[in-house]
Each structure stands twice: as structure tokens, then as C-alpha cells.
């Protein structure tokens, strides 16, 4: 009997994107091994939002969970994209940084502990401006230390994507995992259009947005390490793969000469077709011995 071509897997899959931050984090751990730290009932909220008439969230939009992934210690920190666009405030930022520091201390004590950061975020929370920005700088500093010991995996699934200052945090990660729906970039299309006009970036052109920032493109360019379906089981499996993989020989953000060389050959006199970068920078470039 025809089933319209849908496999049982597809029908049974659970969407990862539809889960909130808490459920996303939980889904990555080995069954029954996770517990949340500084959760909503600890009520460590933003001191700054109520001063501006904005309702705070009891966990400040950041979920920290500790447990085991593929039998090994791991900490997962997930930003809630639905709260203030997942933006980094004083508290949410410090939760992420302190969690990574504690993971680092465990590594130094001989307990291999990796970190997975779920980034659905527009960057700095403008209502906390300089404390949000400082939090990102401090997070980046902690990623640099932790990634020497254990993998720091960035997972961006959508719908918010990873933008602003937090795209630098993603850039420092040991591995980046994305879905096709996810996007990763420093500046979003609206702000580019505002700053430099619609010719520079038509923010209503959804095809263009995903052609540049989308998970498929980033993966094909070699800027993401895995492209996953919106399928919780597949996402969890992929995360297990990277926590078990160990740290890369050289982190992407340290490959300066490679990227400088690539930049030097680009013709900047006109706009590019993003697809060209798949051939230029993708694994094809590897085979030509350009790494």
C-alpha cells in the first residue's frame, strides 16, 4: 500500500526545533543522567529587565544541565531563543561562562568533560548592553581555555540562528553542528540593509538569506562540521559523535594562513554567488591540497 513516499522514520521523527531550550538540552544526554543547575526555582533573574518594564524569566533564558553523553561527563548550556531573542544578558552570559569554567576545572582534575552550547541568539541583549557584550568576551575567553582540554560543540538548530557577538563564540568552537533551517553569521540581513541599503542586502529575500547564512551553505563551505535533519534522535547522535571525537588537531579559528590565502584570491569588485564558495572553500579545496 502506498504511503505517499514517507518513510516510517520521517513520520516518527521528533522535531528538535519545536523543543524549548530545556527539552533540547535534556534530549542530548544519556537517559536519566541529566540534572539542571541554577534552574528557574533558583530565581537568578536579570536585575536590569524589570527596571525597564520587561518581564524577566526565572532562568534568564539560559539552561545549564550536567550529565553524561555517550557515557562521558558533559555540560550542556542552552539559550532560549523565545526569550528576548536568546540574547546574552549578565545572568545568562555568566551561567554559560561559569559552566564552561567548571567543566574546565573538572578536566584539569582528570575528569574529561565536554561542553555543548546551544546557540539560538541574536547576540547582545541591548537592555543590558555593556554587561551583555562583556559576557560574550568572557565566554570567548573561557571557550579558548576549555577547548584545549575537551571539545566545545556549538549546536544551532533554528529558528533564531546564531548572530551578533555570539557568532564569534561559535567561531571559536571545536565543532559546529547546524540544521538546514539554522543560520550563522555576524550581521543579520535587516541590519545590513539598514546600514548599507537594499542593494547590499535585500532582507526580504529569504532565498538569499539562507544561501548565505543557512546551515546547508555553511556546511558546504566547510564552516560547519555536520548538517543534521530536524530530528531529535539524529541531533543527539551527532552530538555524541563529536563529544567522543576529542579535540581537533587545529581549531578552525586558528587556521589563519588558510583563510587569509583564500581571502586574497577573491575578486571584491562585485557581489558573489554564494554557491561559488562551496567549491572554493568546501572539502574540494582540501583535495587540492590547499589546507
Amino acid at each position: 500500500m502506498s504511503s505517499k513516499g514517507y518513510s516510517a522514520d520521517f513520520i516518527n521523527r521528533q522535531s528538535f526545533i519545536e523543543l524549548d531550550a530545556r527539552d533540547r538540552a535534556k534530549a542530548l544526554f544519556d537517559e536519566g543522567t541529566s540534572r539542571e543547575l541554577v534552574g528557574p526555582f533558583d530565581r537568578v533573574e536579570s536585575p536590569w529587565l524589570p527596571m525597564q518594564g520587561v518581564t524577566p524569566q526565572a532562568d534568564d533564558g539560559c539552561v545549564v544541565m550536567k550529565g553524561k553523553i555517550a557515557g562521558q561527563a558533559a555540560v550542556v548550556v542552552a539559550l532560549e531563543g523565545a526569550f528576548q531573542g536568546g540574547s546574552m544578558g549578565e545572568v545568562s552570559g555568566e551561567k554559560m561562562t561559569a559552566a564552561l569554567d567548571l567543566a574546565c576545572a573538572d578536566n584539569e582534575k582528570g575528569i574529561p568533560t565536554s561542553a555543548v552550547i546551544l546557540l539560538e541568539t541574536g547576540g547582545v541583549r541591548l537592555q543590558e548592553a555593556n554587561l551583555g557584550l562583556a559576557a560574550i568576551a568572557e565566554l570567548m575567553a573561557s571557550i579558548l581555555v576549555l577547548r584545549k582540554h575537551a571539545p566545545v560543540i556549538c549546536l544551532t538548530a533554528g529558528t533564531v540562528g546564531c548572530f551578533g557577538g555570539m557568532s564569534l563564540a561559535a567561531g571559536l568552537a571545536s565543532y559546529i553542528v547546524m540544521t538546514r533551517e539554522a543560520r550563522l553569521g555576524m550581521k543579520g540581513p535587516e541590519v545590513i540593509e539598514q546600514e548599507n541599503g537594499v542593494e547590499e542586502f535585500d532582507s526580504s529575500d529569504r532565498a538569499l538569506i539562507w544561501a548565505i547564512h543557512g546551515g546547508d551553505q555553511r556546511y558546504a563551505m566547510g564552516l560547519a562540521d555536520a548538517l543534521v535533519d530536524d530530528d531529535t534522535a539524529q541531533v543527539a547522535d551527532t552530538i555524541r559523535h563529536f563529544t567522543s571525537k576529542g579535540i581537533p588537531a587545529v581549531h578552525r579559528s586558528s587556521q589563519v594562513e588558510l583563510y587569509r590565502g583564500r581571502l586574497a584570491t577573491l575578486d571584491t569588485s562585485q557581489q558573489w554567488d554564494p554557491k561559488e564558495f562551496r567549491a572554493l572553500w568546501g572539502t574540494n579545496g582540501l583535495r587540492e591540497g590547499k589546507r
Binding site: D20, G39, P40, F41, P50, G53, V54, T55, P56, Q57, A58, G61, E80, A82, F83
Partner: protein, 97 residues
């Protein structure tokens, strides 16, 4: 931001705390915890001012069927009464699992 406090009589103990929801646009989070005594207290923080009567009506309706001794905190970002009711019911369901 408006803060609203409401109190209702309660006649039964509740065992488990519960947390549901997100303070997203049109949504709210509910923190429900067991409390001492025969009273249920509700603390609402909402970024949409001027709907005190609506909140009271929704909570009155909810507590007409619910008698747990609880402390409920609501952080709201403009949810409709329907969504508020749904989140409250979800919280109760989690607390009674």
C-alpha cells in the same frame, strides 16, 4: 511592568513543584510550588499593564476547579487568557505526575 497578587483558599497538599512555559511574546512561564497552610497565592508579573481584572477573572476561573495549596509565580509577556489557562493546567499536570 505590573505586579498583581491574588489569594485563594486551598484544601489539599501538593507534592511536586512544576515549571512550564517561556516568557516569549504572547506566552508566559508558570512556577508552581507546594505551600504551607490552606491558601494558594499567585504572584503575577506582566509587561502588559491595565489587565488586572482580566487576570483576576482567569485565575478565579482556574481556582474554581483547583484547590491545591500552592505558591504560583507567573512571568507574562502578553499571553491571552486562553494561553494563561493552558499553562496553568500544564503546571498542575506536571505537579500531579
Amino acid at each position: 511592568m505590573e505586579q498583581i497578587e491574588l489569594t485563594y483558599p486551598a484544601s489539599r497538599n501538593v507534592n511536586k513543584k512544576a515549571h512550564v512555559g517561556v516568557v516569549g511574546s504572547g506566552d508566559l512561564e508558570v512556577l508552581l510550588e507546594p505551600a504551607e497552610g490552606e491558601v494558594a497565592r499567585v504572584f503575577i508579573r506582566t509587561s502588559v499593564d491595565g489587565f488586572r481584572d482580566t487576570w483576576k477573572a482567569v485565575l478565579d476561573r482556574f481556582f474554581s476547579k483547583y484547590d491545591g495549596a500552592v505558591r504560583i509565580e507567573i512571568n507574562d509577556a502578553g499571553a491571552t487568557p486562553g494561553v494563561v489557562h493552558l499553562r496553568l493546567e500544564q503546571a498542575v499536570e506536571v505537579s500531579e505526575r
